[in-house]
């Protein structure tokens, strides 16, 4: 029952008003922002640093909204419940993932921020170039970031398209609207647009999710009844377990690899590097988990959809269909606007992060031109649009999985580079190449699944492919590093990090 419920005019009007208002606010941020903080009106930064990194002056609150806004994307709101809808408790691995990521951020990111501030770096590749003095490694890290973030932007466009389609529009129009709104918003506002509209997105998502987690159980007779009813629609798991035995190791390893990968992406790192101080980041590691509670509630929407009798084969329609089924149509329109704005904010930060990579690290001559950055950001969005048009949505999700495997391979250079290990750049490049090839190869063999079966010393389980590839990468890096150090034993000074080439 309840399949393909159609929205009415009330839903469409509320959606249009909320969505357009946010885009206008974000695009005109340069006009109204000086009104908020007149004392800081004097420009202390180049226009490029202003557009691409918000002038590196975001305090605790803005950072909280910005990092939360671009880490918890609209795709999360659509895809996590979709996964829970189709797999039950297994899809819940997003919760441990978004918890353990914070101790990691607390331990690592303040150090990275300090290095970036001292060296004036805006991207991961900047940091790596300065640390290891290697143009090859810089290119490797920059290309990994670009390739990984492109399908991620594509998924945000798909997120906007999904809700516009749920409003009853068909054909190319929804995608066109999604693309034009994103382009205008980022071109005009720079990083200030998502930073200052992220709070609108959050408030809207909070309202939508809180309404859902309060109203749905009331309809269904409480959470106990909801869980019971949902269990009836899912594959049976024996012995009172929630996750089947064979899925325990995938659950844990996917959570761990996602947590390691999460803040290597250009967009999440941009949010971190735009903070005002290292302590702003530590403070945010304490308070950002508040978003994780909301994420967990969003994941529960997948179970609620079962309990509410939603039957759909297109799992990305689970949440829109649930909202249309349980809410009055004007409020469903509001929730759809929340999802669309929730896609705009991260997609815009992603485009800016990717533009920073192109302008700083990929082009042969470093450029600070803001028009250049805008054009690069626009190019990235056209690339993402191409992903959506020429590849189907299922493939975009697979690409995002491959993106996770690829971005994890920058972990040794960026994160292990913080340790006093003296890793030689050639060893890191070799580890990156072998890790990336192995990871993509395994994904290809497994038919684009995120886990790969491993048997070792009588123990056999499926392990996250990204984590496996990272293991290979680290092993190669450390072994080659030791060999190179032995070979050059007499002249260790050639390996000293920190020589900045340009």
């Amino acid at each position: 029952m309840n399949t393909s419920i159609v929205a009415d005019n009330a839903a469409i009007s509320v959606f249009v008003i909320c969505f357009v208002a946010t885009i206008v606010l974000g695009s005109t941020v340069r006009l109204w922002r000086p009104l908020l903080n007149r004392r800081k009106a004097a420009a202390r930064h180049t226009e490029g640093e202003e557009w691409g990194l918000g002038g590196r002056e975001f305090g605790a609150w803005v950072t909280w909204f910005l990092v939360g806004g671009d880490f918890y994307t609209a795709y999360t709101v659509i895809a996590v419940p979709a996964l829970v809808y189709s797999t039950g408790g297994f899809g819940f691995f997003a919760l441990p993932y978004t918890i353990i990521v914070y101790p990691f951020i607390f331990a690592v990111m303040p150090r990275l921020w300090t290095i970036a501030r001292d060296g004036g770096h805006a991207t991961a590749a900047d940091i790596v170039r300065a640390r290891f003095g290697s143009r090859t490694l810089e290119l490797a890290v920059a290309l990994s970031g670009l390739v990984a973030v492109l399908p991620y932007i594509a998924l945000q466009l798909i997120g906007i398209r999904t809700v516009i389609e749920a409003l009853g529009f068909t054909g190319m129009l929804p995608l066109l609207i999604a693309f034009i709104s994103l382009a205008a918003y980022t071109w005009l506002g720079g990083l200030h647009a998502p930073a200052l509209t992220a709070f609108i997105k959050d408030v809207m998502i909070y309202i939508a999710v809180l309404a859902a987690v309060i109203i749905v159980p009331i309809h269904l007779g409480g959470y106990g009844a909801m869980f019971h009813s949902a269990t009836g629609h899912l594959p049976d798991v024996p012995d009172g377990h929630i996750v089947a035995q064979g899925q325990v190791v995938p659950y844990a390893t996917l959570a761990l690899s996602s947590a390691f990968a999460a803040f290597l992406y250009p967009h999440t790192l941009t949010g971190i590097l735009a903070a005002r101080s290292a302590d702003t980041i530590r403070q945010n590691a304490v308070f950002l988990p508040a978003y994780t509670i909301v994420l967990g509630l969003i994941a529960l929407l997948g179970l609620m959809a079962h309990a509410a009798g939603i039957v759909t084969t297109s799992s990305s329609q689970v949440v829109p269909q649930l909202f249309l089924a349980i809410f009055p149509s004007w409020f469903a329109g509001f929730c759809f606007a929340a999802i669309a704005v929730g896609a705009l904010v991260p997609a815009s930060v992603m485009a800016i992060g990717a533009a920073n990579l192109i302008m700083h690290n990929i082009l042969p001559h470093r450029s600070e031109s803001v028009t250049g950055s805008r054009l690069a950001g626009f190019g990235v969005k056209v690339g993402a649009l191409g992903c959506v048009i020429f590849l189907n949505a299922k493939f975009a999700i697979d690409l995002q999985l491959l993106g996770g495997v690829i971005i994890l391979q920058t972990f040794p250079a960026l994160i292990m580079g913080l340790l006093p290990l003296r890793l030689p750049a050639p060893a890191l490049v070799a580890g990156w190449v072998i890790g990336s090839v192995a990871g993509l190869g395994l994904c290809w063999i497994d038919g684009l699944k995120p886990v790969h079966p491993v048997a070792f010393a009588g123990f056999s389980a499926s392990v996250s492919t990204g984590l496996l590839a990272l293991g290979i990468n680290i092993a190669v890096t450390l072994t080659l590093g030791a060999v190179i150090r032995l070979a050059l034993g007499a002249s260790p000074s050639t390996l000293r990090p920190g020589s900045i080439r340009r």
Binding site: F92, P96, P103, F227, I242, A255, P289
Partner: protein, 58 residues
Amino acid sequence: MKKAIFLLLPFAGLLWVPLYNRHDPVLFGFPFFYWYQFAWVPVTSALIWMAWKMDRQS
């Protein structure tokens, strides 16, 4: 040292899945699997906060 333990506890508590992969005991209608993981959110915040305080003291 104590700081490192604070920061590693959430990893131990959440990545050892057999620890919480069961239905009972149920709390407010939530199976153990779900409320246990939700409970780790405020616990992790508190642990990071304590690590932060220790940083500032030293």
